[in-house]
Protein backbone atom coordinates (compact mmCIF):
# COMPACT_ATOMS: atom_id res chain seq x y z
CA UNK A 1 0.00 0.00 0.00
CA UNK A 2 2.82 2.35 0.99
CA UNK A 3 4.56 1.56 -2.26
CA UNK A 4 1.44 2.37 -4.22
CA UNK A 5 1.04 5.64 -2.32
CA UNK A 6 4.61 6.62 -3.11
CA UNK A 7 4.08 5.85 -6.76
CA UNK A 8 0.91 7.93 -6.86
CA UNK A 9 2.71 10.81 -5.10
CA UNK A 10 5.61 10.53 -7.52
CA UNK A 11 3.30 10.67 -10.49
CA UNK A 12 1.59 13.75 -9.02
CA UNK A 13 4.97 15.45 -8.49
CA UNK A 14 6.06 14.52 -11.97
CA UNK A 15 2.89 15.88 -13.52
CA UNK A 16 3.12 19.08 -11.48
CA UNK A 17 6.75 19.42 -12.52
CA UNK A 18 5.81 19.06 -16.16
CA UNK A 19 3.00 21.58 -15.78
CA UNK A 20 5.44 24.11 -14.28
CA UNK A 21 8.32 23.31 -16.62
CA UNK A 22 6.43 24.06 -19.82
CA UNK A 23 5.50 27.69 -18.95
CA UNK A 24 8.98 28.14 -17.44
CA UNK A 25 10.59 27.25 -20.75
CA UNK A 26 8.07 29.42 -22.58
CA UNK A 27 8.96 32.41 -20.40
CA UNK A 28 12.64 31.85 -21.11
CA UNK A 29 12.01 31.66 -24.84
CA UNK A 30 9.88 34.82 -24.76
CA UNK A 31 12.45 36.72 -22.73
CA UNK A 32 15.20 35.65 -25.13
CA UNK A 33 13.09 36.74 -28.08
CA UNK A 34 12.11 40.13 -26.71
CA UNK A 35 15.48 41.30 -25.49
CA UNK A 36 17.95 42.47 -28.04
CA UNK A 37 21.59 41.57 -27.92
CA UNK A 38 23.22 44.28 -25.82
CA UNK A 39 26.52 43.70 -27.57
CA UNK A 40 25.35 45.56 -30.63
CA UNK A 41 24.21 49.12 -30.90
CA UNK A 42 21.30 49.77 -33.17
CA UNK A 43 19.50 52.80 -34.52
CA UNK A 44 15.85 53.45 -33.80
CA UNK A 45 14.61 56.08 -36.22
CA UNK A 46 11.16 57.54 -35.65
CA UNK A 47 9.74 59.44 -38.60
CA UNK A 48 7.51 62.49 -38.21
CA UNK A 49 5.86 64.27 -41.08
CA UNK A 50 7.00 67.87 -41.23
CA UNK A 51 5.53 69.19 -44.43
CA UNK A 52 3.80 68.20 -47.68
CA UNK A 53 4.41 70.19 -50.84
CA UNK A 54 2.36 69.75 -53.98
CA UNK A 55 4.75 69.65 -56.93
CA UNK A 56 2.17 69.41 -59.71
CA UNK A 57 2.05 67.22 -62.75
CA UNK A 58 5.76 66.97 -63.45
CA UNK A 59 8.89 66.36 -61.46
CA UNK A 60 12.46 66.31 -62.73
CA UNK A 61 11.29 65.89 -66.29
CA UNK A 62 8.86 63.10 -65.49
CA UNK A 63 5.19 63.69 -66.11
CA UNK A 64 2.69 62.28 -63.69
CA UNK A 65 0.19 59.83 -65.02
CA UNK A 66 -3.23 61.20 -65.80
CA UNK A 67 -5.16 61.71 -62.61
CA UNK A 68 -2.01 61.78 -60.45
CA UNK A 69 0.01 64.57 -58.85
CA UNK A 70 3.55 64.69 -57.48
CA UNK A 71 3.94 65.53 -53.81
CA UNK A 72 7.06 66.06 -51.75
CA UNK A 73 6.81 64.69 -48.23
CA UNK A 74 9.30 66.22 -45.78
CA UNK A 75 10.13 64.34 -42.61
CA UNK A 76 11.94 64.77 -39.35
CA UNK A 77 13.83 61.61 -38.51
CA UNK A 78 14.73 61.16 -34.85
CA UNK A 79 17.31 58.52 -34.10
CA UNK A 80 16.35 57.44 -30.59
CA UNK A 81 18.60 54.38 -30.62
CA UNK A 82 22.18 54.00 -29.48
CA UNK A 83 23.63 53.23 -32.90
CA UNK A 84 24.17 55.30 -35.99
CA UNK A 85 21.59 55.09 -38.76
CA UNK A 86 23.23 54.69 -42.14
CA UNK A 87 20.12 55.91 -43.91
CA UNK A 88 18.77 59.41 -43.60
CA UNK A 89 15.28 57.95 -43.82
CA UNK A 90 14.03 54.43 -43.07
CA UNK A 91 12.41 52.70 -46.04
CA UNK A 92 8.80 53.83 -46.02
CA UNK A 93 6.16 51.66 -47.61
CA UNK A 94 3.16 53.74 -48.70
CA UNK A 95 -0.37 52.49 -48.98
CA UNK A 96 -3.62 54.18 -49.84
CA UNK A 97 -7.12 52.80 -49.66
CA UNK A 98 -6.61 51.39 -53.16
CA UNK A 99 -3.52 49.60 -54.41
CA UNK A 100 -2.81 52.22 -57.09
CA UNK A 101 -3.28 55.34 -54.95
CA UNK A 102 0.42 55.98 -54.35
CA UNK A 103 3.45 55.33 -56.49
CA UNK A 104 7.00 55.69 -55.23
CA UNK A 105 9.96 56.76 -57.32
CA UNK A 106 10.61 53.16 -58.41
CA UNK A 107 7.51 53.49 -60.54
CA UNK A 108 8.75 56.32 -62.69
CA UNK A 109 12.48 55.61 -62.45
CA UNK A 110 11.99 53.10 -65.23
CA UNK A 111 10.54 55.82 -67.45
CA UNK A 112 13.67 57.92 -67.15
CA UNK A 113 16.32 57.07 -69.68
CA UNK A 114 19.12 55.48 -67.72
CA UNK A 115 22.24 57.61 -67.63
CA UNK A 116 25.47 56.23 -68.90
CA UNK A 117 27.36 54.40 -66.22
CA UNK A 118 29.93 56.66 -64.69
CA UNK A 119 32.94 55.83 -62.62
CA UNK A 120 32.39 55.84 -58.88
CA UNK A 121 33.49 59.14 -57.37
CA UNK A 122 36.48 59.55 -55.13
CA UNK A 123 35.68 58.60 -51.51
CA UNK A 124 32.62 56.72 -52.67
CA UNK A 125 30.48 55.72 -49.71
CA UNK A 126 31.16 58.86 -47.67
CA UNK A 127 28.65 61.04 -49.53
CA UNK A 128 25.62 59.43 -47.95
CA UNK A 129 23.98 61.19 -45.07
CA UNK A 130 23.53 59.43 -41.77
CA UNK A 131 21.86 60.12 -38.45
CA UNK A 132 24.05 59.73 -35.37
CA UNK A 133 22.43 58.34 -32.23
CA UNK A 134 20.34 60.84 -30.29
CA UNK A 135 20.12 63.35 -33.12
CA UNK A 136 17.50 64.47 -35.58
CA UNK A 137 17.82 64.47 -39.32
CA UNK A 138 15.67 65.76 -42.13
CA UNK A 139 14.70 63.91 -45.27
CA UNK A 140 12.11 64.07 -48.00
CA UNK A 141 10.56 61.81 -50.60
CA UNK A 142 8.58 62.53 -53.74
CA UNK A 143 5.49 60.45 -54.42
CA UNK A 144 2.92 60.30 -57.16
CA UNK A 145 -0.49 60.34 -55.52
CA UNK A 146 -3.82 59.73 -57.19
CA UNK A 147 -6.05 62.80 -57.25
CA UNK A 148 -8.81 62.68 -54.68
CA UNK A 149 -6.87 60.52 -52.23
CA UNK A 150 -7.09 62.21 -48.85
CA UNK A 151 -5.02 59.91 -46.66
CA UNK A 152 -2.18 57.45 -47.05
CA UNK A 153 -0.29 55.32 -44.62
CA UNK A 154 3.46 54.89 -44.48
CA UNK A 155 4.81 51.88 -42.61
CA UNK A 156 8.44 51.36 -41.70
CA UNK A 157 10.83 49.53 -39.39
CA UNK A 158 12.51 51.99 -37.01
CA UNK A 159 15.27 49.60 -36.00
CA UNK A 160 16.65 46.18 -36.77
CA UNK A 161 13.87 44.34 -34.94
CA UNK A 162 10.51 43.29 -36.34
CA UNK A 163 8.78 46.25 -34.73
CA UNK A 164 6.81 48.11 -37.37
CA UNK A 165 5.50 51.65 -37.06
CA UNK A 166 2.76 53.24 -39.10
CA UNK A 167 2.60 56.88 -40.01
CA UNK A 168 -0.79 58.27 -41.01
CA UNK A 169 -0.52 61.02 -43.57
CA UNK A 170 -3.46 63.33 -44.13
CA UNK A 171 -3.44 64.86 -47.59
CA UNK A 172 -6.65 66.79 -47.23
Amino acid sequence: MASKGRTVLSVIFLAAGLVLLVPGILFWVMSAGSSSDPAYKEPYCVVELEDITELGGSYEGVSAEEGYTFYEFSYLVKNLGDGESYQELPSLYYEGPEYNDVYEHYYWDSQVTPEEETEAPLFDGYYDLCIPPGRVGRASEVLMVKDGVTAVQASYYPGYSDEKLILDIDLS
Partner: protein, 283 residues
Amino acid sequence: MRCFNCRKEFDYEKYYGICPKCGCFNQKESREERHEDLHDRFGDDSDHREDSGCGQTYAYSSAEEFQPGAADSRSWEKPRRRGAGFLVFSLLFLVLSLVVLASGVLAYIGSRVETAEEPDGSLRLVSHEVGESFAFQKAELQVDEIRKLADQSVLPGLAEGMELTAVHVTGQGDGEYEDYNRIQMPYIETEAGYRYALSPYDFEPYGQMLGAYPVLDEYALMGESSCSGWYAFLTEADAEEFRIWFDEYDGSGWDGGNLLAGHYVELKAEDAAPEEGGGTDGQ
Protein backbone atom coordinates in the same frame (compact mmCIF):
# COMPACT_ATOMS: atom_id res chain seq x y z
CA MET B 1 13.58 -31.82 -26.53
CA ARG B 2 10.82 -30.00 -28.37
CA CYS B 3 11.34 -26.33 -29.18
CA PHE B 4 8.67 -24.28 -27.46
CA ASN B 5 8.57 -21.94 -30.43
CA CYS B 6 8.55 -24.08 -33.59
CA ARG B 7 7.87 -27.44 -32.02
CA LYS B 8 10.96 -28.95 -33.69
CA GLU B 9 12.43 -31.94 -31.89
CA PHE B 10 16.14 -31.50 -31.22
CA ASP B 11 18.94 -32.75 -28.99
CA TYR B 12 19.22 -30.36 -26.05
CA GLU B 13 22.75 -31.42 -25.12
CA LYS B 14 24.03 -31.21 -28.67
CA TYR B 15 22.61 -27.80 -29.36
CA TYR B 16 22.93 -26.33 -25.84
CA GLY B 17 19.24 -25.57 -25.82
CA ILE B 18 19.29 -23.50 -29.02
CA CYS B 19 16.78 -24.74 -31.57
CA PRO B 20 18.59 -25.54 -34.86
CA LYS B 21 15.47 -24.62 -36.82
CA CYS B 22 14.37 -21.29 -35.39
CA GLY B 23 17.29 -20.32 -33.13
CA CYS B 24 15.20 -19.97 -29.99
CA PHE B 25 16.81 -20.75 -26.68
CA ASN B 26 14.90 -23.38 -24.74
CA GLN B 27 15.35 -23.96 -21.06
CA LYS B 28 15.46 -27.55 -20.12
CA GLU B 29 14.33 -27.23 -16.56
CA SER B 30 11.26 -25.76 -15.05
CA ARG B 31 11.48 -23.22 -12.19
CA GLU B 32 11.06 -25.97 -9.65
CA GLU B 33 13.65 -28.13 -11.33
CA ARG B 34 16.14 -25.27 -11.23
CA HIS B 35 15.38 -24.78 -7.55
CA GLU B 36 16.00 -28.40 -6.82
CA ASP B 37 19.19 -28.20 -8.79
CA LEU B 38 20.37 -25.35 -6.56
CA HIS B 39 19.63 -27.44 -3.47
CA ASP B 40 21.60 -30.28 -5.00
CA ARG B 41 24.55 -28.05 -5.67
CA PHE B 42 24.64 -26.03 -2.45
CA GLY B 43 23.16 -28.42 0.10
CA ASP B 44 19.83 -28.35 1.86
CA ASP B 45 20.57 -26.10 4.83
CA SER B 46 19.07 -22.90 3.52
CA ASP B 47 16.42 -21.28 5.64
CA HIS B 48 12.98 -22.05 4.45
CA ARG B 49 10.28 -20.53 6.64
CA GLU B 50 7.09 -22.38 6.92
CA ASP B 51 5.00 -19.31 6.28
CA SER B 52 7.06 -18.28 3.32
CA GLY B 53 7.68 -20.40 0.32
CA CYS B 54 11.13 -21.48 -0.63
CA GLY B 55 12.84 -19.02 -2.91
CA GLN B 56 10.52 -16.14 -1.97
CA THR B 57 11.59 -12.95 -0.29
CA TYR B 58 10.67 -12.80 3.36
CA ALA B 59 8.73 -9.79 4.59
CA TYR B 60 8.00 -9.09 8.24
CA SER B 61 4.37 -8.75 9.15
CA SER B 62 3.23 -5.73 11.15
CA ALA B 63 2.84 -7.91 14.26
CA GLU B 64 6.28 -9.38 13.90
CA GLU B 65 8.61 -6.45 14.25
CA PHE B 66 12.17 -6.87 13.42
CA GLN B 67 14.42 -6.78 16.45
CA PRO B 68 17.96 -5.93 15.66
CA GLY B 69 20.24 -8.35 17.43
CA ALA B 70 17.41 -10.74 18.19
CA ALA B 71 18.13 -14.41 17.80
CA ASP B 72 17.49 -15.15 14.22
CA SER B 73 19.58 -17.67 12.47
CA ARG B 74 18.64 -16.39 9.01
CA SER B 75 20.29 -13.37 7.48
CA TRP B 76 17.84 -10.48 7.64
CA GLU B 77 16.90 -9.02 4.30
CA LYS B 78 15.98 -5.34 4.38
CA PRO B 79 12.52 -4.87 2.90
CA ARG B 80 12.78 -2.96 -0.36
CA ARG B 81 11.21 0.49 -0.41
CA ARG B 82 9.53 0.19 -3.75
CA GLY B 83 9.06 3.51 -5.57
CA ALA B 84 11.35 5.54 -3.29
CA GLY B 85 13.81 6.33 -6.10
CA PHE B 86 11.00 7.39 -8.37
CA LEU B 87 9.62 9.61 -5.62
CA VAL B 88 12.99 11.31 -5.10
CA PHE B 89 13.35 11.77 -8.83
CA SER B 90 9.86 13.27 -9.09
CA LEU B 91 10.57 15.62 -6.22
CA LEU B 92 13.83 16.78 -7.78
CA PHE B 93 12.05 17.24 -11.09
CA LEU B 94 9.36 19.32 -9.41
CA VAL B 95 11.94 21.52 -7.69
CA LEU B 96 13.86 21.95 -10.95
CA SER B 97 10.66 22.90 -12.77
CA LEU B 98 9.89 25.46 -10.09
CA VAL B 99 13.36 26.96 -10.47
CA VAL B 100 13.01 27.07 -14.27
CA LEU B 101 9.59 28.70 -13.98
CA ALA B 102 10.71 31.29 -11.41
CA SER B 103 13.85 32.23 -13.32
CA GLY B 104 11.91 32.29 -16.60
CA VAL B 105 9.32 34.65 -15.15
CA LEU B 106 12.04 36.91 -13.77
CA ALA B 107 13.92 36.90 -17.07
CA TYR B 108 10.74 37.70 -18.94
CA ILE B 109 9.85 40.55 -16.60
CA GLY B 110 13.40 41.86 -16.92
CA SER B 111 13.24 41.76 -20.70
CA ARG B 112 9.85 43.50 -20.71
CA VAL B 113 11.19 46.25 -18.49
CA GLU B 114 14.16 46.61 -20.80
CA THR B 115 11.87 46.77 -23.82
CA ALA B 116 9.54 49.21 -22.10
CA GLU B 117 12.45 51.57 -21.59
CA GLU B 118 12.02 53.00 -25.05
CA PRO B 119 14.78 55.23 -26.19
CA ASP B 120 13.75 58.81 -25.65
CA GLY B 121 16.63 60.35 -27.51
CA SER B 122 17.57 62.44 -24.53
CA LEU B 123 21.23 62.66 -25.39
CA ARG B 124 23.21 65.23 -23.46
CA LEU B 125 24.42 67.77 -25.98
CA VAL B 126 27.36 69.92 -25.03
CA SER B 127 28.41 72.95 -27.02
CA HIS B 128 32.00 74.20 -27.18
CA GLU B 129 33.81 77.01 -28.91
CA VAL B 130 36.60 76.87 -31.42
CA GLY B 131 39.88 76.83 -29.50
CA GLU B 132 38.19 75.79 -26.25
CA SER B 133 39.64 72.77 -24.52
CA PHE B 134 36.99 70.43 -23.17
CA ALA B 135 37.02 67.23 -21.12
CA PHE B 136 36.33 64.16 -23.20
CA GLN B 137 36.73 60.54 -22.10
CA LYS B 138 39.70 60.90 -19.72
CA ALA B 139 41.27 63.39 -22.12
CA GLU B 140 41.04 66.98 -23.28
CA LEU B 141 40.09 67.85 -26.82
CA GLN B 142 40.23 71.10 -28.67
CA VAL B 143 38.89 71.94 -32.11
CA ASP B 144 41.16 74.50 -33.73
CA GLU B 145 40.00 75.21 -37.25
CA ILE B 146 38.18 73.99 -40.33
CA ARG B 147 39.63 74.11 -43.83
CA LYS B 148 38.10 73.51 -47.20
CA LEU B 149 40.83 71.46 -48.77
CA ALA B 150 39.69 70.70 -52.27
CA ASP B 151 36.75 70.81 -54.61
CA GLN B 152 36.25 69.20 -57.99
CA SER B 153 38.71 71.60 -59.62
CA VAL B 154 41.49 70.23 -57.41
CA LEU B 155 40.31 66.65 -57.13
CA PRO B 156 38.30 65.87 -60.26
CA GLY B 157 37.32 62.53 -58.80
CA LEU B 158 35.06 64.18 -56.23
CA ALA B 159 31.33 64.07 -56.85
CA GLU B 160 29.86 67.20 -58.36
CA GLY B 161 28.99 69.89 -55.87
CA MET B 162 31.00 68.28 -53.10
CA GLU B 163 34.14 69.36 -51.37
CA LEU B 164 36.83 67.85 -49.18
CA THR B 165 36.89 69.57 -45.81
CA ALA B 166 39.17 68.96 -42.84
CA VAL B 167 39.01 69.93 -39.19
CA HIS B 168 42.10 70.33 -37.04
CA VAL B 169 41.91 68.87 -33.55
CA THR B 170 44.43 68.69 -30.74
CA GLY B 171 44.15 66.51 -27.66
CA GLN B 172 45.85 65.80 -24.37
CA GLY B 173 45.56 62.37 -22.78
CA ASP B 174 46.95 60.46 -19.84
CA GLY B 175 49.16 58.34 -22.05
CA GLU B 176 47.50 55.17 -20.80
CA TYR B 177 46.46 52.50 -23.24
CA GLU B 178 42.94 51.47 -22.40
CA ASP B 179 41.28 49.08 -24.77
CA TYR B 180 37.90 50.77 -25.02
CA ASN B 181 38.90 54.41 -24.62
CA ARG B 182 38.93 55.20 -28.30
CA ILE B 183 37.82 58.51 -29.73
CA GLN B 184 35.04 57.46 -32.08
CA MET B 185 35.34 59.07 -35.50
CA PRO B 186 33.45 62.37 -35.48
CA TYR B 187 30.53 63.49 -37.64
CA ILE B 188 30.13 66.74 -39.47
CA GLU B 189 26.77 68.44 -39.66
CA THR B 190 25.81 70.82 -42.42
CA GLU B 191 22.44 72.06 -43.58
CA ALA B 192 22.03 68.88 -45.59
CA GLY B 193 22.55 66.58 -42.62
CA TYR B 194 25.21 64.50 -40.93
CA ARG B 195 28.15 62.72 -42.49
CA TYR B 196 30.71 60.42 -40.97
CA ALA B 197 34.41 61.28 -41.13
CA LEU B 198 36.49 59.78 -43.91
CA SER B 199 38.55 56.79 -43.02
CA PRO B 200 42.10 57.92 -42.15
CA TYR B 201 43.39 55.20 -44.44
CA ASP B 202 41.48 56.63 -47.43
CA PHE B 203 42.23 60.25 -46.65
CA GLU B 204 45.87 60.11 -45.60
CA PRO B 205 47.51 60.35 -49.06
CA TYR B 206 45.29 63.30 -49.96
CA GLY B 207 45.86 64.87 -46.56
CA GLN B 208 49.60 64.79 -47.13
CA MET B 209 49.17 66.32 -50.55
CA LEU B 210 46.76 69.02 -49.41
CA GLY B 211 48.53 69.99 -46.20
CA ALA B 212 46.20 68.30 -43.75
CA TYR B 213 48.67 66.02 -42.06
CA PRO B 214 48.94 64.06 -39.77
CA VAL B 215 45.57 62.42 -40.00
CA LEU B 216 43.85 61.42 -36.78
CA ASP B 217 42.15 58.12 -36.19
CA GLU B 218 40.26 56.47 -33.34
CA TYR B 219 43.49 55.48 -31.63
CA ALA B 220 45.02 58.98 -31.62
CA LEU B 221 45.02 59.18 -27.82
CA MET B 222 45.41 55.51 -26.95
CA GLY B 223 48.78 55.19 -25.25
CA GLU B 224 49.62 58.73 -26.33
CA SER B 225 49.78 61.79 -24.11
CA SER B 226 48.92 64.19 -26.92
CA CYS B 227 47.77 64.34 -30.49
CA SER B 228 47.41 66.97 -33.15
CA GLY B 229 45.98 66.33 -36.57
CA TRP B 230 43.08 66.39 -38.99
CA TYR B 231 39.77 64.70 -39.53
CA ALA B 232 38.40 64.88 -43.07
CA PHE B 233 34.82 65.01 -44.34
CA LEU B 234 32.89 65.41 -47.54
CA THR B 235 30.62 68.44 -47.47
CA GLU B 236 28.54 70.42 -49.92
CA ALA B 237 30.66 72.93 -51.82
CA ASP B 238 28.36 75.78 -50.83
CA ALA B 239 28.27 74.93 -47.12
CA GLU B 240 29.68 77.67 -44.94
CA GLU B 241 28.54 76.66 -41.49
CA PHE B 242 29.43 73.37 -39.90
CA ARG B 243 29.24 71.49 -36.66
CA ILE B 244 31.75 68.82 -35.78
CA TRP B 245 30.38 66.23 -33.39
CA PHE B 246 32.35 64.03 -31.01
CA ASP B 247 30.36 61.30 -29.32
CA GLU B 248 31.57 60.58 -25.80
CA TYR B 249 31.29 56.99 -24.57
CA ASP B 250 31.92 55.52 -21.14
CA GLY B 251 34.36 52.95 -22.50
CA SER B 252 32.52 50.03 -20.93
CA GLY B 253 32.46 47.88 -24.08
CA TRP B 254 34.40 47.02 -27.18
CA ASP B 255 32.25 49.45 -29.18
CA GLY B 256 32.75 52.24 -26.69
CA GLY B 257 29.97 51.23 -24.33
CA ASN B 258 27.23 53.65 -23.41
CA LEU B 259 26.87 56.95 -25.17
CA LEU B 260 27.21 59.70 -22.59
CA ALA B 261 27.10 62.93 -24.54
CA GLY B 262 27.44 64.56 -27.90
CA HIS B 263 30.02 67.35 -27.92
CA TYR B 264 29.83 69.78 -30.80
CA VAL B 265 31.73 72.80 -32.00
CA GLU B 266 30.31 75.24 -34.49
CA LEU B 267 32.66 76.20 -37.25
CA LYS B 268 32.68 78.62 -40.12
CA ALA B 269 34.59 77.83 -43.27
CA GLU B 270 37.86 79.60 -43.75
CA ASP B 271 38.54 79.33 -47.44
CA ALA B 272 42.13 78.37 -47.24
CA ALA B 273 43.91 77.76 -50.50
CA PRO B 274 45.23 74.23 -50.71
CA GLU B 275 48.79 74.17 -49.48
CA GLU B 276 51.51 73.18 -51.82
CA GLY B 277 53.15 69.81 -51.45
CA GLY B 278 53.82 68.72 -47.95
CA GLY B 279 53.92 65.18 -49.15
CA THR B 280 56.28 63.03 -51.01
CA ASP B 281 57.92 63.91 -54.29
CA GLY B 282 55.64 61.54 -56.07
CA GLN B 283 52.60 63.44 -54.91
